[in-house]
Every structure is written in structure tokens, then in C-alpha cells.
């Protein structure tokens, strides 16, 4: 029941926001997001002591669709990320630019995201999956930058096309379930694992493409850089911080255990695509002058590594992927917020035009550096734990893949540090002379991000402990399908 509350509280919040005046919108939204976080805190206390309190399964539609939600360690981590980032994103977007309707859409989005991460029924999962697309589309359409009509529409059609193919794949498995058919995840697992190898191969691609577009994995990434750049910063944070994880989460929950033989045939191909994406996106990121675009490409590289790690289907790879999803979500929100601050004060994203900001804004320089180091995966930052486990997992899978994927460590350091160097260090230019240091709101956001970067980097163990049993369980289901 608590999970249901977690899903629908944001819906209520979205309604409430419709009736709030513009002046109070930011603050109200912030408190509502905090309330959701508090609700999640209560759910967290139940996770180990009383897990049944977190799940619900009622008949919804007579053709075998259930309203089935529940939270294991994996879902828990994803919901944690969603509810944690939401207050941050709202604080980060409190410049007065957004109206109450914007926050209503953000909450609608949160509802869909929590739904995606907790749904244990294929049909319900699909509905939430699509529902997440509508608010973000309108956020980007109404508050975005130049050419937003064309770019956001490309994004919408691209993702929708992927989802429809996924729906076809899920339906195919659904029609294999015995009797009156069922969409429940365990029934789908059984039916999927009983399909012939060739069928599993088809379903693998049908579903993989939807997730690959969402993440995005090379070569399905073409919508992403433009969309990230054009979207308002809050929209970019939602897209990269949380929405992207729908794809990686989906891989784990709705693809590999569903069609293990499909994975066996095509998993390596998918991994190679992901790894190509890492190198390709990193190289483009190195040559970017536009800071927001640079982070967009870095996001493709990071998510490529996560996808490759998950696709190994080894404990290390999956655990690393999950930890890295959280870490990447936190870091990328921080980095995009930095982009917003830079844009607001210098009116440009061109990093070569900036320089010497450290001299005039020391507080900003420090917090930016910590966030950036988390993204570079320096030891003792949150990025390190995940990246280490990921590369470890990929190494056990295949040495050469790990060797190429490992390049991300070097390339990531190159483009990240280079961007820091040209923005923050060097001579102060005319553009950056009057650069104001952070105000209270901005300090709160970046400080929270920095604290999370360090805390999760030094004490990752609680997170690892939470996911360990869930990952074990998932692998068991997966292995049983492989043996058949």
C-alpha cells in the first residue's frame, strides 16, 4: 500500500499545484516533493522488516492486467533516486522562470517514474512508461529553447516508436502465457523463458530497442544531444537524471530475465553497441565547445558503460550498474545545474569564451570541482564505486570489451577536466569578470550534490547491501531460464 501512496501522492501534488499562485508555486512544490521524500523514508523503514507492506496486487482489467506494484532492492534504489532528486531539481529551477503548471507537470512525471520503477505487471509498466513521456514533452515544448518544436517532436516520436515496438514484444510474450493470459511479471518470465530461441531473439530486439532509445545507446542516440540542449535545464535534469534510468532499469527487469536465451544470442552484440557508444560519445565530448552539449555526450558515454555492465548479467556488473545509476543521476543533475548557472550569468554555453571564474567565485569553483570529480570517478567519490564494479564485471565477461570500455576512465577525465580548466581557471575574461558567486538556493543544491558525491563515495555499503539480495534473486530467475 505504501508503494501505491508513493505513486499517487505526486498525482495529488500535481493537482494541488494547478491551484497554487505563481508566487508560491516554487515553495509549495518543494514542500510537496519533500513530503514525498518523507513518505519514501517511511517506506524505507518497511523494506527489510515488512516487505509485504510495500506490495499490492489487484485485478485491474479482465484480460489479465493487474495493478501489481512492489519494491525490491532494485526498485527501491530507483525510487530513492527519483524522490531524492525531485526536491533538488525543484530547488534548482526556482529562478521564477517557471509557473505552477510546470511543477504540476514535474509531479505528473514523478508519478509515472515511480510507477515504472515499481510496476510488476507488463501492462501497467507500459502505461507508466508512456505516461512519463507526456509531461516531459510538454515541459520541453513550453519552456525549452530554440527550435524546440522540431527537436522535442523528434524526441517524442523517436521514443514513442521504440515503446510501440516494445509493446509488440510484450504482447507477443503475453499471448504465450497459458489460459486466459496474464501480464504479471512472473507469468511473463515463465512464458518468455519457455519460448524457442529464435522467438526469444526477436523479443529481445523488440524490447531492447525501446530501452536503447530511452538511455540512449549508440546508434539510437541521435535525438538526445539536441533534446538535452534545447530542453529547459529542469527538463534536462529530469531526462538525464531520472528518465534515462527507465531504460537501464528496464534492461534489468523487463528484458534479460524475460528472454535469457535471447540475451545469450544477442547480449554481446548489444554490449558492443553500448561500448562503441562509450568511445564515440567520449570523443565527441572532447571536441565540444558547448558545455551543455558536452555533458549530454558525457551522459551517453556513462550510460553506455552502465548498459554494458548490466548486459554482462554478473553480480558485479549489475551491482555496479545500479550504484552508477544513482551516482550518475546525482552528478549529472549537479553538472547541468552548473550549466544553468553559467548560462544565466554569461549568457553563453561556449566554454572557450569563459575562464578565470575560480578567482571571482571560489565557492562555486569548489562545489563544481567536487561534482565534476564525482563524474570523473575519482576514488572516494560516488562515481568510483560504480565504475570500478562495472569495469570489473565487464572484465570477467570479456577482456577486450573491458579494455575498450575502460577508456572511459581516461577519456572522461580528459573532457571533464578540460572543461573545468577552460571555464574556471586561467585569466579572467571580460565576460566572467562580474561573475557573482552562488546565492543561497544555488549553494543548497550544489552543496547537497557535493555531500552526496562524497558520502556515497566513502560509504557505499548501505546501497550495496540493499541491492544485493534483489540482484541475487534476479540472477536466479535468469539462470533458471538459461538452463532450460
Amino acid at each position: 500500500m505504501i508503494t501505491v501512496a508513493l505513486i499517487f501522492f505526486p498525482l495529488v501534488a500535481a493537482f494541488v499545484m494547478l491551484f497554487i499562485k505563481r508566487q508560491q508555486a516554487e515553495l509549495t512544490a518543494f514542500y510537496l516533493a519533500l513530503a514525498e521524500l518523507g513518505l519514501f523514508g517511511y517506506a524505507a523503514t518497511q523494506l527489510s522488516s515488512n516487505p509485504t507492506a510495500l506490495s499490492l496486487d489487484v485485478n485491474w482489467l479482465p484480460f489479465g492486467a493487474h495493478f501489481a506494484v512492489s519494491m525490491d532492492g532494485i526498485s527501491f534504489l530507483m525510487v530513492l533516486l527519483t524522490t531524492l532528486l525531485m526536491p533538488l531539481i525543484i530547488t534548482a529551477s526556482s529562478s521564477g522562470y517557471y509557473s505552477n503548471r510546470f511543477y504540476a507537470l514535474v509531479f505528473l512525471m514523478q508519478m509515472a517514474l515511480v510507477g515504472v520503477f515499481t510496476a510488476m505487471d507488463g501492462f501497467l509498466f507500459y502505461i507508466f512508461w508512456e505516461l512519463a513521456l507526456i509531461p516531459i514533452y510538454f515541459i520541453c515544448l513550453m519552456w525549452g529553447g530554440e527550435h524546440r518544436g522540431r527537436i522535442t517532436f523528434k524526441f517524442f516520436v523517436y521514443t514513442l516508436a521504440g515503446s510501440l515496438v516494445m509493446l509488440a514484444g510484450l504482447l507477443f510474450v503475453y499471448l504465450q502465457t497459458p489460459g486466459d493470459h496474464s501480464f504479471l511479471i512472473k507469468d511473463l518470465y515463465t512464458a518468455g523463458q519457455n519460448m524457442s530461441d529464435e522467438q526469444q531473439g526477436w523479443v529481445f530486439w523488440a524490447i531492447f530497442i525501446a530501452f536503447a532509445i530511452k538511455m540512449p545507446v549508440f546508434p539510437f542516440h541521435t535525438w538526445q544531444p539536441d533534446t538535452y540542449v534545447t530542453a529547459p535545464t529542469a527538463g534536462t535534469m529530469l531526462l538525464s537524471g531520472i528518465m534515462l534510468k527507465m531504460g537501464t532499469y528496464g534492461l534489468l527487469r523487463w528484458l534479460m530475465p524475460l528472454v535469457p536465451m535471447g540475451w545469450k544470442m544477442w547480449g554481446n552484440t548489444a554490449m558492443i553497441l553500448a561500448i562503441i557508444g562509450i568511445v564515440y560519445a567520449s570523443l565527441i565530448a572532447i571536441s565540444q565547445k558547448d558545455y551543455k552539449r558536452l555533458i549530454a555526450y558525457s551522459s551517453i558515454a556513462h550510460v553506455g558503460l552502465i548498459a554494458a555492465g548490466l548486459l554482462t548479467m554478473r553480480t558485479e556488473g549489475i551491482t555496479g550498474g545500479l550504484i552508477q545509476m544513482v551516482a550518475h543521476g546525482i552528478n549529472v543533475v549537479g553538472l547541468f545545474f552548473v550549466a544553468e548557472i553559467l548560462m544565466e550569468r554569461t549568457k553563453t554555453h561556449d566554454i572557450t569564451a569563459m575562464g578565470g571564474i575560480r578567482g571571482v567565485a571560489p565557492k562555486f569553483a569548489l562545489l563544481f570541482l567536487i561534482t565534476l570529480l564525482g563524474s570523473v570517478a575519482l576514488p572516494l567519490t560516488n562515481g568510483f564505486v560504480g565504475e570500478f564494479l562495472l569495469i570489473n564485471g565487464i572484465y570477467q565477461h570479456n577482456f577486450w570489451m573491458a579494455a575498450v570500455a575502460g577508456l572511459t576512465v581516461i577519456l572522461g577525465a580528459v573532457y571533464m577536466l578540460r572543461s573545468y580548466q577552460s571555464v574556471m581557471l586561467g585569466e579572467t575574461k571580460q565576460l566572467t569578470e562580474g561573475f557573482k558567486d552562488l546565492d543561497t538556493n544555488e549553494t543548497t543544491v550544489l552543496l547537497t550534490v557535493s555531500v552526496l558525491v562524497i558520502v556515497l563515495g566513502v560509504f557505499p555499503k548501505p546501497l550495496l547491501d540493499i541491492v544485493a539480495p534483489a540482484v541475487e534473486e534476479l540472477l536466479q530467475v535468469f539462470q533458471s531460464g538459461l538452463i532450460k
Binding site: 482489467l61 479482465p62 484480460f63 507500459y126 502505461i127 508512456e130 505516461l131 513521456l133 507526456i134 510538454f138 515544448l141 513550453m142 524546440r148 518544436g149 517532436f153 517524442f156 516520436v157 514513442l160 516508436a161 510501440l164 509493446l167 509488440a168 504482447l171 499471448l175
Partner: protein, 455 residues
């Protein structure tokens, strides 16, 4: 029987009302008539009364009667304003009721003569309604085109009926159904059925018999267009479904292939040509052709699910269309044009209109969690279960094309700035209607069972 009497008598009363200076009573009387029809239908549920071997009020007929009356009820709320600005209103109300009477006959016939009569009662009323804006040239053109094309189609229909009568010796569809297996030579039957399909195809506006739709839809007064797209389409597709699923399932081998061609062509032409439209009414006309394709897919699966998924699809489509045409009507009234650029900046000026329009369009495009998605889902799954994977994939691809043109309007409303001023306002009744309709689309999307399993 009671339903039929109620509808036709209400039509006659509204016509007489003008004579006795009771114009103010017409609108309440019309609402009352529809409400009574709905109540009678609920009362008669499961009774399956026969009416002189010509009609049978089975659950299919009652379900669609309820659907038609409810659609007409919503439609009345929508077009009340349009009627009140006209000088002679009563004949239009009564024509609408006569059209509905025809619709009722079309969903309940058990005899081919009644099928033809129903279609004619409906069509003749509509020819007049399409031209009801006497001073407007395009309205006249629309009526004339509709009449010419429609009577041509009726000819085909009649020819088909005659041929089938010739080979089976009966107009009674129950007898025809019984004798279908024993026919020595089916070639005449096949020709007759092709004629029937052509005639019905004209009426529902399925490609390649669709050419009248864009011009008629665009030319007719917007409320009348809305009536055609909703109530009329529902009645025509239901008649088609009743004919082929209930009475001719035994010879489905003959007509399934033709249906497949019609479906593919409707989806293809309707969607592709809609992409190129710059006028919202014309765009909706082409999209209605593609929806005729989806509706025919429900018939294509020829089983008990056909009726249910057709009822659900038509109801959802009609509700969405009412909202869309309502907004188009208001825009047109305000700006004098229904081109897509007239929608610019609507989101800022009249958020309610923009949001209802968005909900309606998203529903028609089949985006969850709106009802349109569930409607398409049922259709696709039913066809998929019969093993027509390629048709479903094609239909999915086409609904993606649909997203493209529906979003042209959405983008215009939310992205572009309005260049010419003028506030678009809905009065209280229209506001209420828009809220009801949007809520219904959401509700049916989450709980489709309120309608789906009725039949």
C-alpha cells in the same frame, strides 16, 4: 420499439413546436427525448425483443442505441449555441432526431429492407443538415456532393441486396444466414456481397470510397460535421459489423480479403493525406478515414470480441471527436477560419480549450493512459490473436503517423504565439461539456470495462 417511437416522436414534436410558439421548449424536449431513449434501452436490456421480424432489439442494438443517444446528447450540448443563433432551429433538431431514428434502425435490423430504410432515413436527413447553412456556398456544395455520392452508394447497396435476394430468395437475414451453407453456386452471392461492401464502405467513408469525406466535412457547418463524424459514423460501422459479423460469418472467406484491402487503404490514405493538411476540419476528416480503418479491423476479427471492441472504439472516438470539433467550432467562430495556424497560442489564452483539445487528440492518437489507447489495444490484440501479425504491425506504424499530424495542432497551441488577437471563449455549457468529455476520456482509459464488456 419504445426506443424507436420515442426518437421519432421527439422528432415530430420538435418540428411541431415552432408552429405552436414553443421554441423555448425544443432544447429541453430534445434532451428529454434522448434521456428517455437511453432509459428504455436500459430497461429492455437482455429482453431481446423482436419487432415483426424486421428488427430485433438485442443487446447489440440496445448497446449501440445507448451509445448513439449519449453521443447525440453530448452533441446537443455542444451545438446548442449554434442552433440558438439560427432563425429556424426546429427543423434542424427534428432532422437530427430523424437521423438518429435511422441510426437506430441501422443497428437493430434483421431484414435487409430495414437496413436500406435505416440508411436512407439517416442519409436523407443528413443531406439536408449538411446544407443547412443556406447562405454559405461551401455548405451548399457540401450538401450537393454528399447527396450525389450518397445516392450513388445507395444504388450499390440496393443492387447488392437485390442480388442476395435473388440467390437466397429472402430479405430476412436470419433465413439468409441459415441458407448460406446450402447454396449450390455462390458466385452471385459473392458479387452481391461486394456490392454491399462498396455501398457500406461509402457510408462509413473507408478508402477507396472516401473522396466525399474531406469536402463534405470541411464544407458542412462544424456542428453538423461533428454529428457526421460521431453519431453517423457509429451507426454506419455498427450496421456494417452487424451485417458481416452476425449474419455473414459463415462466408467470411469471401469478404475478409476485401476487408483487408479496405482496411490497409483506409489506414494508408487517411493517415498519409492527413499529414499534408493545413485545415483542422480537413485534417479531422482524413483522420476519420483512418479511424474507419481501425473500426473495420474490429469487424475483421469476426468473433464475439468484435462487437465489444467496436462499441468501445466508436464511443471513444466519438467522445474525442466531440471535444475536438467543439474547439474547432469555437476557433472558427472567433477567427473565421479553422486552419491549423488559427490554433496558435491557444494554450496561453484559453488553457481549458487547449487542454481538452490536447486530451482529445492524444486519445485519438492512441497515447496511454487515455481511452484511445485502450480502444486501439483491444482492436490490435483481437486481430493479433487471429494471427494477422503483419496487419497489426502496419496499423501500429500508421498510428505513429497519426501522432505526427495530431501533434501539428498540439504544437501550434502550445508553442506558437498568436499573431492576431481575439479571445476564444467557451460559455458555461460548453465548458461543462469539455470537462465532462476530457474526464470521460481519462476514466475510460483507466477503467475501459465501464463500456467494454457490455455486449
Amino acid at each position: 420499439m419504445k426506443e424507436l417511437l420515442t426518437l421519432s416522436l421527439t422528432g415530430i414534436f420538435t418540428m411541431l413546436a415552432d408552429m405552436f410558439n414553443l421554441r423555448k421548449l425544443v432544447f429541453p424536449l430534445a434532451l428529454l427525448g434522448l434521456a428517455m431513449t437511453i432509459s428504455w434501452s436500459v430497461y429492455d436490456w437482455n429482453l431481446s425483443q423482436r419487432i415483426w421480424g424486421m428488427m430485433q432489439m438485442d443487446n447489440f442494438a440496445l448497446g449501440f442505441t445507448i451509445a448513439l443517444s449519449s453521443i447525440a446528447l453530448l452533441w446537443l450540448l455542444m451545438s446548442e449555441e449554434y442552433f440558438s443563433t439560427m432563425k429556424a432551429i426546429t427543423d434542424r433538431y427534428s432532422l437530427m432526431f430523424f437521423a438518429l431514428t435511422g441510426g437506430l434502425v441501422m443497428v437493430s435490423y434483421t431484414n435487409m429492407v430495414m437496413l436500406f430504410l435505416g440508411i436512407e432515413i439517416l442519409s436523407v436527413s443528413l443531406y439536408v443538415l449538411a446544407g443547412s447553412n443556406k447562405t454559405d456556398l461551401s455548405s451548399n456544395e457540401s450538401a450537393f456532393k454528399y447527396f450525389l455520392m450518397g445516392s450513388f452508394a445507395s444504388g450499390f447497396l440496393l443492387f447488392g441486396i437485390a442480388l442476395i435476394y435473388g440467390i437466397t430468395g429472402s430479405f430476412n437475414l436470419l433465413e439468409i444466414r441459415a441458407s448460406l451453407g446450402k447454396l449450390p453456386d455462390t458466385s452471385l452471392l459473392n458479387v452481391g456481397m461486394i456490392m454491399l461492401i462498396i455501398g457500406m464502405g461509402f457510408k462509413i467513408g473507408a478508402a477507396p470510397f472516401h473522396f466525399w469525406t474531406p469536402d463534405v466535412y470541411q464544407g458542412a457547418p462544424t456542428p453538423i460535421t461533428a454529428f457526421m463524424a460521431t453519431a453517423v459514423k457509429t451507426a454506419a460501422v455498427a450496421a456494417m459489423c452487424r451485417l458481416f459479423v452476425s449474419y455473414f460469418p459463415l462466408v467470411s472467406g469471401v469478404w475478409l480479403d476485401i476487408f483487408a484491402v479496405l482496411i490497409i487503404m483506409s489506414l494508408l490514405l487517411g493517415n498519409i493525406i492527413a499529414v499534408m493538411q493545413h485545415d483542422a476540419k480537413r485534417l479531422l476528416a482524413f483522420s476519420s478515414i483512418s479511424h474507419a480503418g481501425y473500426m473495420m479491423m474490429t469487424i475483421f476479427s469476426v468473433d464475439s470480441e468484435s462487437n465489444n471492441s467496436l462499441l468501445f472504439y466508436t464511443v471513444v472516438y466519438a467522445i474525442g471527436s466531440i471535444a475536438a470539433f467543439m474547439v474547432v467550432y469555437l476557433i472558427q467562430k472567433n477567427k473565421g477560419t479553422a486552419s491549423i495556424s488559427a490554433f496558435n497560442g491557444l494554450a496561453k489564452k484559453s488553457p481549458l480549450l487547449a487542454i481538452s483539445m490536447t486530451v482529445a487528440l492524444l486519445s485519438m492518437a492512441g497515447i496511454p493512459p487515455l481511452a484511445g489507447f485502450m480502444a486501439k489495444y483491444y482492436v490490435f490484440v483481437n486481430v493479433l490473436q487471429d494471427g494477422y501479425l503483419s496487419m497489426v504491425l502496419f496499423a501500429i506504424a500508421m498510428s505513429l503517423v497519426g501522432v505526427y499530424y495530431y501533434f501539428k495542432i498540439i504544437i501550434a497551441m502550445f508553442l506558437h504565439e498568436d499573431t492576431e488577437g481575439g479571445e476564444v471563449k467557451a460559455d458555461a455549457l460548453q465548458t461543462l461539456l469539455l470537462i465532462i468529455v476530457s474526464a470521460a476520456l481519462l476514466l475510460l482509459g483507466v477503467l475501459p470495462n465501464l463500456v467494454y464488456n457490455l455486449l
